[in-house]
């Protein structure tokens, strides 16, 4: 392009020179040079404009004064310093900023106010009323971030209003940019007051329902008179005192308070301290909240059966499993109505034993006949499964199932198989894993990779007619010579609970002989562990595995969760997706996005930040390609950090240091109020460098036009047109 400009310029100049050279004789020397100069100037300016020249100049500009008010919104700002007023620290600020005295200032065109909340994070352009919504007080960190964001706006006025109670950890004063002064204003009483507080609490996140929750409480004290009685309490969610003790100040050691929860679930507890006969100015740090998940970690298994090797080795397998608590009862007759309690070493009525069923998770009937149960006993077992969600596992034998005269009993409704009379036969049937559903949790580590020849044959079998349509069968039995296969191990959901039938006898041999061959192992313990674990696991989690690492988070901590969606064969479901919904305190609700986990089929994860303390419920829904859904709900608590409550007197030294480090001014709240009232807002004048394209300036075009017109006027007057 540039060579075209040069050629054009040369053409205009040469033609202009030649033209005027031809008529040189008709013009005076003066006019000749005027015309030639006009033409050359015109060509020169034109050529210059063709190079897109820019023109820069300085100008003076007026704008409103920007005033930034950084206001601490942390929890310590809720403190009412009794000596000053009945208003909280934050309310005192609100009264100044939004009261009538500053109305004129705030409405002035010469001032641009912006209120910025600080605490846990920066909140730009907040509107009144001021709320103590931050649960941390990272003053230096927030001020540093803000000052970086307004760098370049040197006329800005920045005021930080805070009590100086800081939770900054990794930030120091040197990190605040000092280009613009930071003015600081303190609110709150700087003098230490008589104060006792919950300094810290150690408590488990999860406990077994039968274990007490131990709260190890450390009391903090400030100016507390010696021999002051302090009442330390633990309160439940309904503010009912559940544990309490009284100690005498000074308290140097941790205090232990224990509570037996008894009710499973996610519970929040408040730990409080109260000084007797002392008026405390600060009460905000007298309470600490924590959450504990109370769950049945131990699986309680009641086993009623005839003393036999199958029962003996079932017990050995159960004892090999951690967290199994056993109650064992021997059937000593077929219809006595009494069973022998191993623990009590005495006979007990069956109905008396079943009184304890409500505390159990699984009832195993190992070759126990129907005759020992009365009609109310049977009804109680049904309620245990259907309503309480317990598990019922029938194990076969000559006194069990059809041969145990269970036909006609209400319990047949609960069984996953149809029974026939006198179904027990002594035949060495071999065990054949069913080909389907090998990825079911019951088969994990058992039939999924076990050759049927590795399973010792049965010593006898209850030939059940068939499995119910809603049941699943994982093991079948067949004679070595072949022939019909009979359901051996089948399971079914019934109401809230689950039932299982092992319609055979002789699995003591699985224990004795299971580990004899090279590479083989004790298959009975694996099998029993799978069955018990599956029976006690929540029904909704068998088709979607959810990993939720904790039930208690500190505010500001991110929550991470993962879910794997399975199909009806318990394999990872193809083309599935997961959605989540989080419900929290105060009507909070928002969807949670799950994203695929790389390399994990049907695995999805989500990470999110709960916004405020309280109890949350996360509903996770796995959606399969056929539209079938599985929903799992899990709960967790978010606990506020109490770090800034260690010392509640206003820390004016910190505020003075911030002002000193940046060249700003420190005010107390009254002086700041006076300062604002007397402040005369003035627009800010500033010199601005303006850069524009030359072609955008009209005078240049006018000059060009003037030169052309002048040339033509001279030419017409000289008769040269």
């Amino acid at each position: 392009m540039s060579y075209l400009i040069v050629i054009t310029a040369l053409f205009v100049m040469i033609t202009g020179t030649l033209l005027y050279a031809l008529i040189r004789s008709r013009l005076s020397l003066k006019k000749f040079f005027v015309l030639l100069s006009l033409r050359l100037f015109f060509a020169g300016i034109l050529i210059w404009l063709m190079t897109d020249p820019m023109i820069t100049f300085l100008t003076t500009h007026t704008k409103p004064q920007k005033i930034y008010l950084l206001i601490d919104q942390s929890q310590s700002m809720t403190i009412r310093d009794t000596e000053n007023s009945n208003l909280s620290r934050l309310e005192q600020i609100g009264e100044i900023l939004f009261g009538s005295s500053l109305k004129a200032l705030r409405s002035s065109e010469n001032v641009l106010f912006e209120i910025v909340g600080i605490g846990d994070t920066l909140r730009r352009s907040i509107q009144p009323p001021l709320e103590p919504i931050a649960y941390q007080s990272n003053i230096i960190e927030n001020v540093s971030q803000f000052m970086e964001s307004i760098q370049g706006d040197k006329s800005a006025l920045v005021y930080v209003v805070s009590d100086g109670c800081s939770t900054d950890k990794d930030f120091g004063l040197s990190e605040i940019p000092s280009e613009i002064p930071v003015n600081t204003i303190s609110v709150g009483n700087p003098d230490d007051q008589v104060d006792c507080m919950i300094h810290s609490v150690r408590a488990p996140s999860e406990v077994d329902i039968e274990e007490p929750i131990d709260f190890y409480i450390r009391i903090g004290e400030q100016k507390m008179p010696p021999e002051t009685n302090l009442l330390v309490s633990v309160l439940d969610e309904e503010s009912k005192v559940i544990a309490q003790t009284e100690v005498v100040s000074p308290v140097k050691d941790e205090i232990l308070l224990s509570y037996q929860p008894n009710v499973p679930g996610l519970h929040q507890y408040s730990i409080t301290v109260e000084a007797r006969d002392i008026v405390e100015p600060y009460k905000e740090n007298n309470i600490y909240k924590t959450a504990v998940l109370v769950e049945k970690k131990d699986v309680r298994v009641m086993l009623i059966g005839k003393p036999a090797w199958d029962m003996a080795f079932l017990l050995r397998a159960l004892r090999d499993i951690r967290n199994v608590r056993l109650s064992v009862y021997n059937v000593v007759g077929d219809t006595s109505g009494n069973i022998f309690s191993l623990q009590a070493a005495s006979e007990q009525a069956v109905s008396e034993v079943l009184d304890q069923l409500s505390d159990q998770d699984v009832l195993i009937l190992c070759n126990a006949p129907a005759g020992i149960f009365s009609f109310p006993d049977i009804q109680r077992i049904e309620r245990f499964v259907e309503i309480k969600g317990g598990g019922l596992w029938f194990i076969g034998g000559e006194s069990s199932l059809g041969s145990g005269r269970f036909i006609g009993s209400q319990l047949t409704k609960l069984l996953p198989v149809f029974l026939i009379d006198n179904d027990y036969i002594y035949q060495p049937y071999r065990v054949v894993p069913a080909q389907t559903s090998r990825s079911h949790p019951v088969c994990s580590g058992f039939t999924d990779n076990l050759d049927s020849n590795q399973i010792p044959p049965l010593t006898g079998i209850n030939l059940v007619e068939k499995a119910k349509p809603v049941a699943e069968t994982f093991l079948k039995a067949q004679l070595s010579s072949g022939g019909q296969q009979f359901p051996l191990f089948s399971v079914m959901n019934y109401g809230k609970g689950k039932t299982a039938v092992f319609a055979g006898k002789g699995f003591y041999r699985w224990y004795m002989e299971g580990g004899l061959r090279p590479g083989s192992r004790d298959i009975l313990t694996t099998f029993v562990l799978n069955v018990i674990s599956w029976i006690v696991s929540p029904t909704d989690r068998s088709l979607m595995h959810v990993r939720f690492p904790s039930v208690k988070y500190i505010l500001g901590e991110k929550v991470h969760t993962e879910a794997v969606v399975l199909d009806t064969t318990y394999s990872p479901a193809s083309s599935s997706w997961v959605r989540g919904n989080l419900v929290g305190p105060g009507g909070f609700e928002r969807p949670i996005d799950f994203v695929p986990i790389p390399g994990e089929q049907s695995g999805f994860s989500a990470t999110f930040l709960p916004p405020q303390p309280g109890k949350y419920y996360l509903t996770i829904t796995g959606v399969r390609s056929d539209g079938n859904e599985t929903t799992v709900e899990t709960g967790f608590y978010v606990i506020p950090s109490s770090e800034e409550f260690g010392r509640l007197a206003a820390n004016i030294d910190l505020l003075k240091d911030i002002a000193d480090a940046t060249g700003g001014t420190y005010y107390d709240l009254e002086k700041f109020d006076a300062f604002l009232k007397s402040y005369k807002p003035q627009a800010v004048k500033e010199k601005v460098k303006v850069t524009r394209m030359a072609v955008d300036y009209p005078f240049i075009l006018m000059a060009l036009l003037g030169m052309i017109i002048a040339e033509w006027v001279i030419r017409i007057r000289e008769g040269l047109n």
Partner: protein, 222 residues
């Protein structure tokens, strides 16, 4: 030819002739250990049938009429979770038998050894080969084996006097499970025998039956 006939006769006269019946179909069964070394492994022949009968009668247990007999190097050893051994003489375990017995205990097996007077020294020696690092320890009277069904607050009952020593119950534990119970200076086997064999008083025979039932039930629950 005569030798062959003699062998046939000997086999037919085998004292515990229940091997032809598959006892494993029963709820509970016992295998008597046919050990080497010259001791009378077959002594107290009516004791175990009487114990099995008592289990059937008192606890409605589905049991065979007689015990099985097994050698420690039999492949079928692992089909019998409860072994019983008794005698008056020497016991000897081969290295293969030692290895098999150790594996048997690891797999969940239980042995009740009842000193019929005279097997103490050799039993201790041979069982020591199976568990070189574990020794027989005397069980306290509070142990469940003395209380699981019938109460024996003073431990083992004294059934048959030999040297006037007190009866002692010893055990070997493997992974916290009692795998060997050794009854010494009590001779429960004598007490289990039919009344006409040793002419023991009725209450002694009852004590023997009760203690033996406790041992059986213990093996079925722990």
């Amino acid at each position: 030819m005569k030798r062959f006939l003699l062998l046939i006769i000997l086999i037919l006269c085998f004292p515990a002739g229940v091997r032809c019946e598959d006892v494993t179909r029963y709820d509970f069964f016992i295998a008597r250990v046919h050990y080497d070394g010259g001791g009378d492994w077959y002594s107290d022949p009516t004791s175990l049938p009487n114990l099995l009968a008592a289990l059937k009668e008192r606890l409605s247990m589905f049991v065979p009429k007689k015990e099985a007999v097994v050698k420690l190097d039999d492949e079928e050893l692992f089909r019998y979770p409860f072994l019983y051994m008794t005698g008056h003489g020497n016991i000897s375990f081969s290295p293969v038998q030692v290895e098999a017995l150790r594996k048997y205990f690891e797999q969940g097996g239980f042995l009740w050894a009842d000193d019929n007077y005279g097997m103490d020294e050799s039993f201790r020696r041979e069982i020591g080969k199976v568990f070189p690092d574990s020794h027989l320890v005397e069980l306290p009277f509070s142990h469940p084996i003395y209380h699981i069904h019938y109460k024996f607050d003073s431990g083992l009952p004294k059934i048959h006097e030999h040297d006037g020593k007190p009866p002692k119950g010893y055990g070997i534990f493997y992974k916290n499970r009692l795998v060997v119970f050794y009854t010494y200076e009590t001779d429960i086997g004598d007490g289990l025998e039919s009344p006409e064999v040793h002419d023991n008083p009725a209450h002694k025979r009852e004590e023997a039956v009760r203690m033996a039932i406790n041992i059986v039930l213990y093996s079925l629950h722990y």
